[in-house]
Symmetry: C2
Subunit: 340 residues, 2 copies
């Protein structure tokens, strides 16, 4: 079952803000609705918001009343602008928008052809995402041994992608190969994607999962309960990996305990012309920290920091697992050099 | 304003489970009520539950209908047994119970004298706690410089003691000396003592505090926003410090970033005949992790770990601040050797 689907002019997705208590599918019919759903994190996860953005452009094309290709291109540019403003950190969003817009610009046919091209590019990207994730899983599974316990942070699963996931793809692939893997999931405050989404996905698949609070990561590692760490990524730059806040904390702990730390992400997450200092870290509402739903858990008016991401320097990353294979840190650095 | 008070046969305390939303004072009139309040964490913090246990014995003595000293001693022993079963990790609980019981055993007078002795021993311990904390503050303040930002975990403040706190005593004392200190408070999942109690206390005193989720600790350190870390302790053994879950994670991060890591605790927390492996780590209800109040935040039936404490090996601890002064790790180790 895919996390996002195109149904002739309607994009359907699972509202991730109400999982696991409620499984509520929402329908989006316009670029604006897609942008809102991304902003409100009804859809989240770098690969998923990339495909969602592509579908946002597809909705614009599909429902457009424009009478010329130029008018439609203007509508698409406007939609692209709206989507670009939703979330600044994950690069897949920008990559996906650029890909669809570049495709649109190459169309030299009539208005209908342009519309069709935009829709089918978005659909192709959704299909490719699943294929990419399957490959990530297959490559990464080699790194896991029978009996391993893998700690993961946030949700880099089906729900962060169109299907199958990235970090969880590796775990799923190893599981499908018959390796008995166990997972420890960090709850991942403030939005609790680990507790709400990763635990939900893995229980659904019958893969053993134990939930911990983020601050127990050091404890479980010190007790020898973690063999490997695998996380996803929102943007991989020349010198580090931007991912959900708390990833860096886990990486430092893994290093201290001699536990391999792997990042699983498609190459669409690579942004090798950039460095850490170029990445905009999204600062989200203080309410995410001070409230739980409508329940206040901190004094009124308390000052809060709420960066949604952090950057893990490459020295903490043992390998990056992408659809092309497993890149050790050394191999990744060679790739970075080639891209100068 | 004290966190706990004796009012002729009634022990009054602030219910810490409903702070900061509600300031609700509860009255306890029996040992059983005190034991329940400790178990349910209406009172928490090693020094506070020590004094609370002493008051539990005082309530037994005060309200006893025993007609002989022997009968009263039996009642006290029964109360002590009930209190000892509440929480296993903090040593102050056991220390306080032993101290009152030892005092009781030395009384060679009549029944009334025994009753009075138990009550006044408990009261003396409450007064001593405040004096001890003032001294901890004074000694520790020397370690803080004007302009420092101190990260603290959980709540080692007034609310964890009778008054003034331990880790927060150091911050308060430095502040009172005119040093402009800022505090970063970890929210401290699962029970959120940082968000609910530390933020509340510091805002009350006008000391600048910024709240973060536990998994942001690495991020703020990497950004150079933390000069020192100070935490409390539930039990200090020969080779490590047992304290609220997540303390070890913070300690590893502090070491990685070259940030001094201090523990502030009274010597009643020292348990120098024991080693880490002797400390029982309390495992609390999974509901604390899977629920927020009545709201479920994880799939039904998910497996959970919920250790309430962890142990930070001494190598991560730069100094222990107690009422006798600041012990560097080296000095502490010398003390440990002397105690063989």
């Amino acid at each position: 079952m895919r996390t996002i689907e195109w149904r002739s002019g309607v994009v359907v997705t699972l509202d991730q803000t109400v999982l696991p208590v409620e499984e509520k599918w929402i329908e989006m019919r316009s670029c604006r609705e897609v942008a809102s759903a991304i902003k409100e994190m009804k859809m989240r996860g770098a690969p998923l918001i990339g495909v969602a953005a592509a579908y946002g452009l597809a909705l614009t094309a599909y429902h457009s009343k424009a009478e010329t290709e130029e008018d439609l291109m203007q509508e698409l540019e406007k939609c692209a602008e709206t989507l670009r403003k939703t979330r600044p950190t994950a690069v897949n969003l920008f990559w996906a928008i650029d890909r669809v817009m570049n495709k649109a610009r190459t169309i030299q046919g009539n208005l209908e052809e342009l519309k069709k091209a935009v829709v089918s590019e978005a659909q192709a990207m959704a299909d490719e995402d699943v294929e990419t994730n399957r490959r990530i899983g297959k490559h990464g599974a080699k790194l896991l041994s029978n009996g391993d316990t893998v700690l993961t942070h946030c949700n880099a699963g089906s729900l962060a992608t169109v299907d199958y996931g990235t970090a969880l793809a590796v775990i799923r692939a190893a599981w499908e190969e018959g390796k008995r893997i166990k997972v420890i999931a960090d709850e991942t405050r403030p939005k609790l994607q680990g507790a709400r989404l990763t635990a939900y996905e893995l229980m659904h698949d019958g893969i053993p999962v134990t939930l911990i609070t983020d601050n127990m990561a050091g404890y479980v590692m010190s007790k020898g309960l973690v063999d490997k760490v695998i996380v996803g990524a929102d943007r991989i730059v020349r010198d580090g990996v931007a991912n959900k806040i708390g990833t860096y904390t886990v990486a430092v702990l893994a290093k201290e305990h001699g536990i391999p730390f792997y990042v699983a992400a498609p190459t669409s997450t690579f942004d090798l012309s950039k460095r850490s200092e170029d990445v905009i870290i999204e600062e989200r509402s203080p309410d995410e920290v001070t409230h739980f739903g409508s329940v206040r858990i901190a004094p009124e008016g308390v000052k809060v920091m709420n960066p949604a991401f952090d950057i893990t320097p490459l020295k903490y990353v043992d390998a990056i697992i992408c659809e092309k294979g497993v890149l050790t840190r050394k191999e990744f650095l060679r790739l970075v050099k080639e891209k100068v």
